[in-house]
């Protein structure tokens, strides 16, 4: 019994020590990987720049794909809802408000002048009229479309 216990304990100790050794090795590998990654980052960066993968290209991809999405989605809109379609597209295009918010929120450290704030504020007001007006008038219109009452 005692013998068996001793063997077990030995085995456990051996396992523990090899686990520790493994952990140590893993840590070493991790450190090495980190070092590699650190070394690789500038290389990747340089590669990205050198091969010209500009963020612009990604945006262009988004732009082109969205045109296709728009094409298929809009064709599936029922003609009865073409007026709400116009008012809701109008409302969502007011997402241009994000540009106005950046302008109004810019501070002097970012070189914001009085002019920037004024332009931003005007754009903010115009876009807000459109956001609220557009979505609410769409909501009002859509609320009018009712099916035949079941008798």
């Amino acid at each position: 019994m005692a013998d068996a216990l001793q063997t077990l304990r030995d085995a456990a100790e051996a396992a523990a020590s090899s686990a520790a050794a493994l952990a140590e090795a893993a840590r070493g590998v991790a450190a090495e990987a980190a070092a590699n990654a650190e070394a690789a980052a500038p290389v990747a960066d340089a590669a990205a720049h050198a091969s010209g993968v500009d963020p612009f290209v990604f945006r262009l991809a988004i732009f082109v794909l969205s045109i296709f999405i728009g094409y298929y989605v809009v064709w599936s809109v029922t003609p009865a809802l073409h007026t709400p379609l116009m008012s809701v597209t109008n409302a969502i295009s007011s997402v241009i408000v994000v540009g106005a918010l950046v302008a109004v929120g810019a501070d002097a450290a970012e070189g914001a002048t009085q002019a920037t704030k004024i332009f931003g504020f005007i754009a903010l007001v115009l876009a807000s009229v459109n956001i609220f007006g557009g979505f609410l008038v769409t909501e009002r219109m859509l609320g009018m479309y009712k099916p035949k009452e079941k008798k």
Binding site: F56, R59, F63, I69, G70, V73, V74, S76, T78, P79, A80, L81, H82, T83, P84, L85, M86, S87, V88, T89, N90, I92, S93, S94, V95, I96, V98, G99, L101, A103, V104, G105, D107, E110, G111, A115, T116, K117, F119, G120, A123, V125, L126, A127, S128, V129, N130, I131, F132, G133, G134, F135, V137, T138, E139, M144, Y145, P147, K148, E149
Partner: protein, 466 residues
């Protein structure tokens, strides 16, 4: 943080796509509109988190701007009559266009805040995108203002034809290209404002020669422009939500313009070149020749004929909107249904002054949407109908589009109302439609003209049915 923002903008772009997707059926449309609102809120909150104001003054300005614009917008949305939707949409387009101009100006004056370079050394790509955004935005602004004035009757709907207008427009467009080029080279603020001024002028000149009746195409086209302007600014700001939305709106407006042109069998180019179709009044002088005989009926006659019919198809047009006759018309429809008559509505794609205009008016008058049918779905049913009741529509029912290849509206898809056993035609007077084309339908044996105001006529018919 920047990755978080980009992902959030992507999510709001997806929500906008779902907003449009919801419009494929009236039952899902309101849910879609909610998605749109959530998407907008997300875009605004994200912007405030990543580029929020650092000063109290900034916070105050943002709150004030949102409250001011929001209040005005909500009031307008609540009060506008449904018949004024075309001019409201035109007015809203003008706001998007102007906002694009001001955002571009702000980016030019403080490039650091927008991450596009430093003053005097802004990235060339950003300058290109910025100038495209501002040019399209400015054209959208003045173009929409003119469209609004024409639709709202503040300005004659008749085309205004300047001498050499194609030459002027061409020169202005060439000038714009030159100014954009110079602006990118010099980065001089002067050229930015020169682009804006030239584009503003171009917007006016493009829209004034287009007649009131071609406004459905113009409104859709400006819808498309406002989208492209937003997309241009989206590239400048590197904002995915704006790029996605801009391209969605741009393609949406383009498709609507195409549908409207197809509904008139006209090319987009011929509409844009303009000069066609003023108001009905302007073109109404064409009946000076010999007066052909036509049958004239009264409200009592109409009530009698329709009450004894098995089925009635109602064809509404812009005249119904002008006369605000949709409620009286629905009452008439209800009375007919009580009398056991099968009532349906037939809508031509270009009826009214904007896509879907008639559908909204009928919906406002509580006409269930499943009684309202599009041209291709109902056209074959006229041959089985007892009565076609045409109210405020004219050219869209003109059979000469099918029979007379020399007619100005030849080839335009029309509603085959002449196939019904009886045609009741509600019309203010015997004048021609906006296209200046006489409608031979008036002189057919089965046609009875109900001359008078559309609303009054419907009310009289309702009274006569009691």
């Amino acid at each position: 943080m920047e990755n978080f923002a980009a992902l959030a903008y992507l999510v709001s772009g997806v929500l906008f796509i779902m907003a449009l997707r919801g419009l494929s059926h009236p039952t899902t449309s309101r849910q879609g509109n909610r998605y749109g609102m959530i998407g907008m809120a997300l875009a605004i909150v994200t912007t405030l988190v990543v580029a929020g104001p650092s000063s109290n003054e900034g916070v105050l300005l943002i709150v004030a701007g949102l409250a001011l614009g929001g209040f005005a917008g909500a009031q307008i949305a609540k009060k506008v009559p449904m018949t004024d939707m075309p001019q409201l949409v035109a007015a809203f387009h003008s706001l998007v266009g102007l906002a694009a101009v001001f955002v571009a100006a702000a980016a030019l004056y403080s490039p650091v805040a927008f991450n596009i370079g430093v003053p005097g050394d802004i990235h060339a790509a950003s300058l290109v995108e910025m100038s495209l955004g501002v040019a399209i935005g400015a054209i959208t602004f003045t173009g929409s203002v003119i469209a609004f004035a024409k639709l709202d009757g503040r300005m004659s709907g008749a085309p205004i034809m300047l001498p050499n207008r194609h030459l002027i427009n061409g020169a202005l467009a060439a000038g714009l290209v030159f100014m954009v080029y110079t602006f990118i080279q010099t980065q001089d603020v002067f050229w930015f404002w020169a682009i804006t001024a030239a584009a503003l002028a171009l917007g006016v000149l493009i829209i004034i020669p287009i007649g009131g009746a071609d406004m459905p195409v113009v409104v859709s086209m400006l819808n498309s422009y406002s989208g492209w302007a937003a997309a241009g600014i989206g590239f400048t700001l590197g904002n995915e939500a704006l790029i996605i939305t801009g391209s969605l709106v741009g393609s949406s407006g383009a498709i609507l313009s195409y549908i409207m042109c197809a509904g008139m069998n006209r090319s987009f180019i011929s509409v844009i070149l303009g000069g066609w179709g003023g108001d009905a009044a302007a073109a109404g002088g064409g009946e000076a020749g010999e007066q052909k005989p036509y049958k004239r009926g009264s409200a009592d006659d109409a009530a009698f004929i329709m009450q004894n019919a098995g089925s009635v198809i109602i064809v509404p047009g812009y005249g119904m909107a002008v006369a605000q006759a949709q409620h009286a018309l629905r009452e008439m429809g209800d009375k007919l249904k009580e009398a056991g008559v099968d009532v349906k509505y037939a809508i031509h794609p270009v009826a009214g002054r904007m896509p879907g205009h008639m559908n909204v008016l009928l919906a406002e008058a509580n006409v269930p949407y499943d009684e309202v049918f599009e041209l291709e779905d109902i056209n074959s049913e006229f041959s089985r109908a007892d009565v076609a009741f045409v109210i405020g529509a004219n050219d869209v029912t003109n059979p000469s589009a099918k029979t007379d290849p020399k007619s100005p509206i030849a080839g335009m898809p029309v509603l085959d109302v002449e196939n019904a056993k009886t045609v009741l035609f509600v019309k203010r007077s015997m004048g021609a439609g906006y296209a200046g084309v006489e409608n031979p339908l008036f002189f057919f044996d089965q046609t009875m003209m109900l001359l008078g105001d559309a609303k009054k006529m419907c009310e009289d018919i309702v009274k006569a049915m009691d």
